[in-house]
């Protein structure tokens, strides 16, 4: 949005057209009018409901605004940020967000790559699996959370039910106990996000020419070594881009964990977005929440730079 107009990404996404015949200024004006007419209906809602709020959100972090209607919104400089970095709860939530985003992203990648390879290997029943892989993606996140809450239910849930076959009396509340809540939520995160990763990786796999892999195997390379030396390097651009985007999405995730645990027990699953949501709409401290948002943006920007850099490199290699 705004950041883009300030620093256009260093990606030659639009190779400039070869020197066109010089246009008269009247033609340029006419063309601009035409473009404006086409773009303005989209531009207006974007400016009012996306760009303006974003700028305002960045600014709010430097004030003492609250949700109350007669909040003074006085400028307070870096005050909110000072408070933020002295707030043990925030630091803890940031750490949980990092653990969550790292684990979910890595497991999504590992599991997604496994599934992509299987879907690419000419087996039977792939159609069913591929369809199953699309469903988590299509379902409303709230429904996914409800479903997993039922699976994890300490009494009626089938997970504990299966364990009780061996250990009658077992009644662990997976989402409600210290130590298990975050891993349990991470598994749900992987369930939701792995399919998309795997379909993307599958698309990448299908771009690799068969001859490349065949040639390697002709040369006596084992399946494993042709995977490591041919398949993985060919997938590298897809892997780096999907991983950086997944990390950002996971770091920003909200709905799933909100419905699963509301950040509990005892803040064990308090992702940064949940923390900021609580600050803004439960404790009504919107300036403080905005400061959190600003810090989260920094994380995103760094990762986005990395993403664009890898894209740039790929494009140059092509």
């Amino acid at each position: 949005m705004t950041t883009v107009t300030q620093t256009p990404p260093p990606v030659p996404l639009a190779p400039s057209a070869p020197a066109a015949p010089r246009r008269t200024s009247r033609m340029v004006v006419a063309r601009r009018k035409e473009v404006a007419a086409l773009v303005i209906p989209s531009l207006i809602p974007i400016l009012i409901f996306s760009v303006a709020p974003l700028l305002n959100g960045v600014y709010l972090a430097f004030t003492d605004a609250t949700l109350s209607r007669n909040s003074s919104n006085a400028f307070t400089g870096l005050g909110q940020f000072r408070k933020l970095f002295g707030d043990a709860l925030f630091l803890e939530s940031f750490k949980i967000g990092m653990i969550w985003a790292f684990s979910v992203t890595l497991l999504q990648l590992a599991a997604g790559l496994g599934l992509a390879l299987l879907l690419n290997a000419n087996l039977r029943f792939q159609g069913v699996t591929r369809l199953l892989a699309l469903i988590p993606w299509a379902m409303p996140p709230v429904v996914v959370a409800i479903m997993w809450k039922m699976l994890y239910n300490p009494n009626s849930g089938p997970i504990n039910g299966a364990i009780r076959l061996f250990d009658p009396g077992f009644a662990l509340d997976w989402l409600g106990s210290f130590g298990t809540a975050l891993p349990a939520a991470i598994i749900v995160g992987v369930w939701v996000g792995m399919p998309q990763t795997s379909i993307t990786l599958l698309a990448g796999l299908q771009q690799i020419p068969d001859e490349l892999v065949e040639a390697a195997e002709m040369d006596g390379a084992s399946t494993w070594s042709s995977f490591v030396h041919v398949t993985l390097p060919a997938l590298r651009p897809v892997i780096t881009s999907i991983t950086s985007l997944n990390f950002i999405w996971n770091f920003n995730s909200f709905g799933l964990v909100y419905v699963l645990t509301e950040g509990g027990p005892g803040g064990q699953t308090m992702l940064p977005m949940l923390f900021a949501y609580n600050e803004a709409f439960k404790y009504r401290d919107i300036a403080y929440a905005a400061a959190m948002g600003n810090v989260m943006v920094l994380v995103v920007v760094v990762l986005l730079m990395f993403y664009l850099w890898t894209q740039f490199r790929t494009e140059r290699e092509d």
């Binding site: 950041t3 057209a17 989209s42 303006a52 369809l131 199953l132 699309l134 892999v213 920003n252 909200f254």
Partner: protein, 280 residues
Amino acid sequence: MALTRTRPATRGAQYVGLAAYMVFLGFPLFYLLMASLKSTQQLASLDVWIFPRSLAWSNFSEALASQGIVRATANTAIVSLTTTLVVTVIALPAAYAMARFRGRLRLIGTGYVLVSQVFPVILIIIPLFLILRTINLNDSLVGLTLVYVTFCLPFALWMLQGFVAAIPVSLEEAAAMDGASRLTMLRTVVFPLLVPGTVATAMFTFVSAWNEFFFALVLLQSPDNFTLSRSLALFVGAEGQVRLGPLAAGAVLASIPSLVFFAILQRRLTGGLLSGAVKG
């Protein structure tokens, strides 16, 4: 990949792996479906039997009767359909401009699309809440629709401009040679060719709006305005009192439209990811 040379042992391992994925991905869905048909007694007991002891279709009628589900479904449908309609109408011309007038516009457009997909929405929702409150549109379906339109736009623009770019420019040039104005040319050449792409984009927009939760959570306060996700989440919060059967039934019902659209879009989806992910 060198299909003929795969050893039986490797093949076997591959099938075991595939089966594991099928269980991991499929079991939760299957369980939810079964739970929606189980009696309250079975769901409340320690009974591990995965199938319903007796089919409790009443869960569905109960879900529909109670919990304001009908109201919420109507709200969700109205918001999603309006969002889809508005997004499609305003995104079409802009996507056309993005695809055809390359250069700075396309660069900025692409950048905006990318950034909008990764921004922490908390920064936007706070001022948005304040703006909507000022014009009395928070806690209203109109306000929610405005927000959905804005947030579904980038992805719709991105998809549509891809479909426009796939139409050969030469077709338009031929029409221009024949003396067609830009408007006539759009109407007679471009839009007819864009119909399948537009339908796919519209479905995606509908699904995103239908599934959305965060904005609905923040903006909607009165139960009369709740969308499906919003009201289902409410009942999870009150888990102690709520009966799991009807909740599961409601969850199943809430996912049907998205699942239907995704099934229709499956092919296009994989194709889109292919070009999107690999070429970046």
